[in-house]
């Protein structure tokens, strides 16, 4: 399938959102609000739930399911307080030795006056740094759109998975076309060049696994995710904590590592 078709599928309005995944993956879910500093960001849902019999911390980006909720959720584009709320919950997960599930679906961190005034860059940077050394298993799944730094801020994990029709990109194809070629009609070409599909990214080892999709029915997706998450957490909970953190460091250390570069 052409890359741009995947972009359209990943952004489709009828595609299940973070909330749908929470409803279908976890039981006894309780949402926990606020960053304890500035406010509560509705673009990120945080909470606790059971993954089968395992208590886990859940962090999900939510773009909204209808016009009203999309506006409330700011179309899934988080402000710094969204990332700080996520980090607060991750620190609690570490304290109580709970694995963390991150569900990524955002066109990007919000670009606006308030977001800049409250330190969007710092909020993302802090998440990257802290997630790198959290002493509990983390698994991130890109369920829709993985938009650049705003997505990566929940994507420093032991394993990163993607749904078959999800995308994950350094910049939106529209942004790339307008910056590089000053031509919005080149969006499709940009989508191809950026290597943003699940298959491309598996080949580049940016992700570890693809969850196959039948886009009319997500039941199979939920089932595969539930079992997959559970098994992965079981495996990683058994690891020595230093080993767990070292594995995570090495997972990201390999991109562009000196031995892989030749010239």
């Amino acid at each position: 399938m052409e890359a741009y078709k995947r972009v359209a599928l990943a952004r489709k309005k009828t595609r299940p959102t973070g909330q749908d995944f929470i409803d279908n993956l976890f039981t006894d879910f309780i949402e926990l609000h606020g960053d304890r500093c500035f406010g509560d960001d509705p673009a990120v849902i945080c909470g606790l739930g059971h993954l089968m019999d395992m208590p886990v911390t859940v962090i999900a980006q939510e773009r909204g399911q209808n016009t009203k909720s999309r506006v409330k959720r700011n179309f899934g584009s988080a402000h710094p307080e969204g990332y700080r709320k996520a980090l607060r919950q991750m620190k609690l997960a570490e304290k109580f030795n709970r694995p963390i599930v991150c569900l990524i679906d955002t066109s990007g961190a919000f670009c606006g006056i308030g977001a800049e005034e409250r330190g969007q860059g710092l909020a993302i940077a802090n998440n990257l740094m802290e997630m790198m050394s959290l002493k509990v298993p983390i698994l991130s799944v890109v369920i829709g759109e993985g938009g650049s730094g705003g997505a990566l801020a929940l994507g420093v994990a032991d394993e990163v998975w993607m749904l078959e029709n999800a995308i994950y990109s350094v910049i939106s194809p529209e942004g790339c076309a307008s910056i590089l070629w000053k031509d919005a009609s080149k969006t499709k070409d940009a989508a191809n060049c950026l290597k943003l599909t699940a298959h491309d990214l598996l080949e580049l080892q940016v992700i570890d696994k693809i969850i196959s999709e039948n886009h009319r029915d997500f039941k199979n997706v939920y089932r595969e995710l539930k079992i997959g998450l559970y098994k992965c957490f079981q495996k990683n909970q058994a690891l020595d904590r230093d080993q767990l953190i070292n594995n995570r460091y090495q997972r990201f250390r390999k991109y562009g590592a000196i031995e892989s570069m030749t010239k």
């Binding site: 670009c111 800049e116 740094m129 730094g149 350094v170 910056i179």
Partner: protein, 295 residues
């Protein structure tokens, strides 16, 4: 061609932007004099050079390259560069990227957008990275990310503080997700260095934006900035396009970030070496070590 809104009164400055004619500078040989982008006054290049490339009239900091910065802060002949030879390849086969890399190398006389190594400041040994704006606007691809990671790993091994000068347009889109991954990789290296109790100082210079702001630029124990430097996650043009408003004057400048609590201090170029020395002293970084900062 007649444009539709030709007689429409512009609602705001953004709409009116395309009507403002650009003033052209008078023709003066570029090597003799430079006009200040801030106050428009002309200064002799030699005067600028002796004044840290700062406008003597208004204090505007001209953009300078990485080697000029090194000369300003490192004790003479103590800098030992590492991994100078690393250069990028077009792994994704991105159209036009090979040519861009070639042009950037010719234009900047560097192999990539960052220089790393060790040197001495007031005879105290430090590890350094200095980003280079003339190489594709200091954008971060795999080599930039790798070199920054390598210097943090070196500093951790040899128990050295890291001093970093940032200037960047963000992640390099021609390297796709492999560029974005550098944000996580460098952050991991900073974290390991930090957990070992070692000092990391950043000096943010004009402009520091995007994926670099959202990773190692903002991860310093102490974050300094040059006067009036643009420091942002999303650049002003992107924000204006998103919210359709003109941004307030001074928005995202170093002074604005200081007021909002995101940088520790603004330090003009003329006192940077002094300030760095003071901070190194206060953190007990010892004088001496080996003779010439060699590895």
């Amino acid at each position: 061609m007649l444009s539709k809104g030709l007689f429409k009164k512009p609602k705001n400055e953004l709409e009116a932007q395309h009507r403002i004619k650009r003033k052209t500078d008078p023709a003066i040989p570029s090597e003799l004099c430079r006009s200040c982008p801030s106050c428009k006054q002309l200064s002799f290049t030699s005067d600028l050079e002796s004044n840290f490339h700062v406008c003597p009239k208004c204090g505007h900091h001209f953009r300078i390259n990485a080697r000029q910065r090194l000369n300003m802060i490192i004790d003479q002949d103590t800098f030992v560069e590492q991994y100078h030879e690393l250069s990028s390849t077009n792994r994704l086969g991105f159209p036009g990227y090979d040519e861009k890399l070639e042009q950037a190398a010719l234009f900047s006389h560097e192999n990539e957008g960052v220089i790393i190594g060790t040197g001495k400041i007031d005879n105290r040994k430090v590890a350094l990275f200095v980003m280079e704006a003339t190489f594709m606007m200091g954008s971060m691809g795999q080599v930039v990310g790798e070199k920054i990671t390598l210097i943090f790993e070196y500093a951790l091994k040899h128990q050295l503080p890291v001093i970093g000068y940032t200037v960047s347009g963000g992640a390099r889109m021609q390297e796709g997700m492999l560029a974005l991954m550098q944000m996580a990789k460098t952050s991991g290296a900073v974290k390991r260095h930090s957990d070992a109790g070692l000092l990391y100082l950043t000096i943010l210079t004009d402009p520091t934006t995007g994926g670099v702001t959202a990773s190692f630029a903002m991860e310093g124990d102490i974050i300094l900035a040059e006067p009036e430097a643009l420091i942002a996650f999303a650049g002003p043009r992107v924000i204006e396009q998103t919210i359709r408003q003109r941004l307030p004057k001074g928005f995202q400048r170093a002074e604005f970030l200081l007021e909002k609590g995101f940088v520790d201090a603004i330090v003009p170029r003329s006192t940077q070496k002094e300030t760095l020395t003071q901070l190194l002293t206060l953190h007990g970084i010892p004088k001496g070590g080996d003779q010439n900062g060699s590895i």
